[in-house]
Symmetry: C2
Subunit: 298 residues, 2 copies
C-alpha cells in the first residue's frame, strides 16, 4: 500500500457542475469550508462553454479569489486549447485536460472524436508550459461509456502514451459513470503503468453503483497516489446519463484513515464541509458519513 | 482470490427485523423473489423473543413453508439454547448462534455477558447436532461496539477458539454497526484463521459508512467464502444505534461478477427481488443497483 495519498477536493467543479448555478459568494463559502479540511489540492472550476455548463460561467471571477489560499494547489478543468488559454490568463497554475476514451462520449462532451481530443494535448501542453503551468490529462470513460459500453483498455493506453510523449505532468483515469469495480481498476492500472512511466497517477471514481470506495481502495493498492473526491458526494456529470455523485471526501477519508494511509484531510472538518455543501445546494447528499458520523465519537 | 463465493440472502431476517412486522404472506412473496435469484443459502427467520423482535414472531409458521424450496439451505438465527430447540423443532436444518464480542452489546442484545453467551455454545451445539442440524457461530460487533468502541481482536479469537473446540460447523464475523474497513477486515481474518482452523469463514457487513462492499471484497481476498447480503440493502439492527442496511445483494453481485468470482445469484433477478422488498416495506432502500441498474443493458 502507498503510504501517502493526496486527495483532491472536486466539489467546487465536478460537484457543482450538474447543479443549478449557485452565486459566487456561495462558492466562496464552500471553498472556505473545504480549505478548512486541510486538503492540499482543490479543483476550483472549469474553463468551458458557459452556455453548455452555466454553473461554471464565473470561472475567472472565482479564480481571482484563489490567492486567498496560498497553501492549496488549485486546478481548473479545460476541454480545449482556448479553455487552457483562459485558465492560464485567469492565473491558474494547474490545468486538467479531459480526454474521453470513447468516441461517442467525446463527441457528446466536446464535439470531437477521442483521437482529435488526444491530438490537442500537444497544443495545451505548449500553452500551459510556456506559462509555467502544470498539465494533467484525465481520461474520461476509462472503463465504460454510457453509449458504447466497455472501453477497450487499449484506448486508455493510447491516451497515456500520447500524454507521456507530449510531456504531460500528471495522468488520471476517471470512472465517469460509476461502473467500475476493484479488479477492473487493478487490471487497467497494471496495463497502464508501463505506458505512462513515472507520471503520477490519479483516480476519479463515482459511487453510482456503490463500488466507488472499493475501486478507490483498489487503485491505491495498485499504486495510485492521488484520488478525487467531493464533500457530501456532491456531483455528477450532465453528459453522463445515470451518473451520480463523486465518492464522498469524508467517506474516503474514513476508509483511508482506518487503513493507516496518510492523508491531509481532517474527517470532522470534511463532514462540516459536507454540511455546508448540502445547505448550499438545498438537497440531501449521498455521503454515508454525513448521515452516520465517524465511528469514533468525541 | 477465492474462486467461488456463497452469498446468503438475509433480507427475510436481518432485512425485516428492524421493520414494522409484515404479514406472513408478504414474507412468502419476498421468499419467492429471492429464491428466483438462484441463491443457495437463505437466512429465513429468527427464533428469538417475540416481544423483543415482533417482526420474527411468525418464525415457526414461516418455517413450515421452507420445504417448498428444496434446493435452498435455510438457516435461522437463535440467541439461546431455547431458541435452538424451537428452531430444531420447527424443522430448520441450520442454525446461527450469535455471540457478541463486546459485553455491553451482548448485555443489551441478550442480557448476558460475552463470556456467558460463549459458554452456551456447547449446549447449542449439542441440541443441534443431536438432531443432525448444522451450527454456525456469528460474532457480532467483531470490529466495533456502539457502546464500547473498538473491539479487541482477542475477544473475537476467544469466541473462535471456543467455537472450534465445541465442534461448531461454520464461523462468521459480523460488522454489526457498519464501521469496518478493508485493512481492519484483513487484519482480523489473518489473526483468526489459525485459531479457527479449517472452519468455513463467513462475513456479514453493513454499509452504514459506505465501506461495506470494500470490506466484503477485502474479506474475499482474505479467504472468506461466504458473504451475507440483503436485497435492496434492506435491514439494520434494533439494538445497534446508527446501523443501517446490510450490503445490498445486487450491489455485491455486481462487484463479484465483475471480479471474475463465481456466484450463484443472478443480477437481474436480484434487482427484481429488491423491487419486491421495496414494495413490501413501502419505503425507499439504499441499494445502488436498484437505482442505477446494471452497467450492461440488455
Amino acid at each position: 500500500m502507498t503510504q501517502h495519498v493526496d486527495i483532491r477536493e472536486v466539489s467546487l467543479r465536478d460537484g457543482l457542475q450538474i447543479e443549478q448555478p449557485i452565486p459566487l459568494a456561495a462558492k466562496l463559502e464552500l471553498l472556505a469550508a473545504v480549505a478548512a479540511t486541510g486538503v492540499r489540492e482543490v479543483e476550483a472550476t472549469a474553463f468551458v462553454s458557459p452556455s453548455k455548463v452555466p454553473s461554471m460561467a464565473d470561472a475567472a471571477e472565482l479564480a481571482a479569489h484563489l490567492h486567498d489560499y496560498p497553501d492549496i494547489e488549485f486546478s481548473a478543468l479545460v476541454a480545449s486549447p482556448n479553455g487552457a488559454k483562459r485558465a492560464v490568463a485567469a492565473g491558474l497554475r494547474s490545468i486538467e485536460y479531459v480526454v474521453a476514451a470513447s468516441d461517442a462520449f467525446s463527441e457528446a462532451n466536446v464535439g470531437r472524436s477521442a483521437a482529435e481530443a488526444t491530438g490537442q494535448i500537444e497544443e495545451i501542453v505548449a500553452i500551459a508550459h510556456d506559462a509555467g503551468v502544470t498539465v494533467e490529462v484525465i481520461v474520461a470513460t476509462a472503463w465504460d461509456c454510457p453509449f458504447e459500453g466497455p472501453t477497450a483498455p487499449q484506448r486508455v493506453l493510447e491516451i497515456g502514451a500520447a500524454a507521456r510523449e507530449r510531456g504531460v505532468d500528471r495522468f488520471s483515469i476517471a470512472d465517469t459513470i460509476g461502473t467500475t469495480t476493484p479488479r477492473r481498476v487493478s487490471s487497467l492500472i497494471a496495463q497502464l503503468r508501463p505506458v505512462i512511466g513515472d507520471m503520477p497517477l490519479g483516480g476519479h471514481f463515482h459511487n453510482t453503483r456503490g463500488t466507488g470506495l472499493a475501486s478507490a481502495y483498489a487503485a491505491v493498492g495498485s499504486g495510485v497516489t492521488r484520488l478525487d473526491a467531493s464533500v457530501g458526494g456532491l456531483g455528477g456529470c450532465p453528459f453522463a446519463p445515470g451518473a451520480t455523485g463523486n465518492i464522498a471526501t469524508e467517506d474516503l477519508v474514513y476508509l483511508l484513515r482506518d487503513s493507516d494511509i496518510d492523508i491531509d484531510v481532517d474527517l470532522p472538518a470534511a463532514i462540516a464541509a459536507a454540511e455546508v455543501a448540502r445547505s448550499l445546494v438545498g438537497h440531501d447528499l449521498p455521503s454515508a458519513l454525513l448521515r452516520a458520523g465517524d465511528r469514533i465519537r468525541n
